[in-house]
């Protein structure tokens, strides 16, 4: 039976982890490679880096981090943030990323998803959708970290990226992100039932129960979380044991 995945996400800015884990055993709390290794050793099913570096000049920094991490972590590595061109994808994959996550570039031009999945295979193309609720059962796609409104319907867009070859959808609720009040389950359920590709839930996790809800109520194939795994609040292992105790199948 296919297991539900737990994916810790690390926000990286100019080569350093922002909001990183703060375990006592860490030598350097800002080093993404060291933190990824801790997650991987702790049983993370995948590792996700989100590069929030604003400038393009610093792209080499994330590539260097990916290169170092990939030599030490033997679980899948997804990298997102600023992926705009085929060359960006090539660079990340060559450095050792297994998947790349495309956000703004996919919204601007959905053909980019098609081109990328045709060139690299759907298995490594994740489309990150940032959605915000606009009315009852209606969500809209936002870009640039939730700042820019697009007037694109999130459900329609999800279907569209599937048709264009995305292998997975990383779905973030902009309403819930950072609130620690749980995923937007309605949004999640709507997208997971409207598409036939795996959906990774993101945005709003504050407790282990939220992970449970994302999988069981929302239908997510994987749950992504950042802050609950930081500061040693919960370890990946705790999350998995908790889910397992509630009959959610995970890789233990």
């Amino acid at each position: 039976m296919l297991k539900n995945r737990i994916i810790p996400c690390l926000d990286v800015q100019n080569g350093r982890v922002v909001k990183g884990i703060n375990f006592v055993e860490l030598k350097d709390a800002g080093d993404p490679v060291e933190q990824a290794k801790i997650y991987s050793d702790g049983g993370a099913d995948e590792i996700c880096f989100l590069d929030i570096t604003a400038s393009n000049e610093n792209r080499d920094t994330i590539i260097d981090i990916v290169r170092k991490t990939a030599k030490e972590c033997f679980v899948p590595l997804t990298v997102g943030g600023g992926v705009r061109t085929i060359q960006n994808i090539t660079d990340l994959l060559l450095a050792g990323a297994d998947k790349v996550s495309i956000n703004t570039a996919a919204v601007k031009n959905v053909d980019f998803v098609k081109e990328a999945s045709k060139k690299f295979g759907s298995q490594c193309i994740v489309v990150a959708i940032d959605a915000k609720k606009v009315s009852e059962n209606k969500w809209e796609v936002f870009t640039h970290g939730g700042r820019n409104k697009t007037d694109i319907d999130a459900i329609e867009f999800a279907k569209q990226v599937e048709t264009n070859g995305a292998g997975e959808i990383l779905l973030t609720s902009m309403d819930k992100d950072g609130t620690k009040s749980g995923y937007d389950i309605d949004l999640l359920k709507t997208i997971t039932t409207s598409t036939n590709i795996p959906v990774i839930a993101s945005g709003g996790v504050g407790t282990l129960d939220h992970l449970y809800d994302g999988i069981v109520k929302g239908g997510a194939s994987a749950v992504l979380a950042a802050s609950i795994f930081h500061y040693g609040e919960h370890k990946i292992k705790d999350a998995k044991e908790y889910l397992n105790s509630k009959n959610v199948s995970v890789r233990l």
């Binding site: 039976m1 296919l2 297991k3 991987s40 033997f74 679980v75 994959l93 990323a97 759907s122 194939s221």
Partner: protein, 208 residues
Amino acid sequence: MNVTIVDYQSGNISSVVNSFTEVSKGKVNLEVTSDIKKIKSSDKIVLPGQGSFKSCVDSLNNINGLVDTLKEFAITNRKPLLGICVGLQMFADVGYEEAETKGLGWISGKVSKINNQNGKFKLPHIGWNEIEILKESKIFKDIKNKSHMYFVHSYEFIPEDKSVISATTDYSSKIVCAVEKENLFGTQFHPEKSDKTGLKIIDNFLKL
């Protein structure tokens, strides 16, 4: 020992290279190349594969003499070869991804889309799934039955001769996820991304 990971310009092989490098540290001489001469002088070959069946076969055919060299290595000289993901799928006679495409024809069978029961099972099959070991395989030495491996695929290899199947995984049906036929080994899952258990399989292959 010389081990070659065949780099035929198709898909992302960094992870395969990284994990083999990790496991083979100081033990074997690892080459990543499509150089025919180097392949000929190898003791073992790893054939990775990402993207579609058709794109992988096309890329193999694009390199002059590569298919013949691999055939001579694996079929005539019976030296150990490990196919990973589409690398395994290409052992088949034919694949149906994108368009009907002739495979290498090393193990009779076909590669077709996983029957996902009208959308009941999401495709691609992505993530960690348990493998059920059906026969003793040299690459499964010290691997426990029901171990978790990392999968990412939408197509499955269906061999004619079921005795080549060394493991299956359950996703809508029993999907063939590992084969062994004499010197030919293949995994549908990605040992290079399957944590310590995956690295152990790589180690087993290197120790053959």
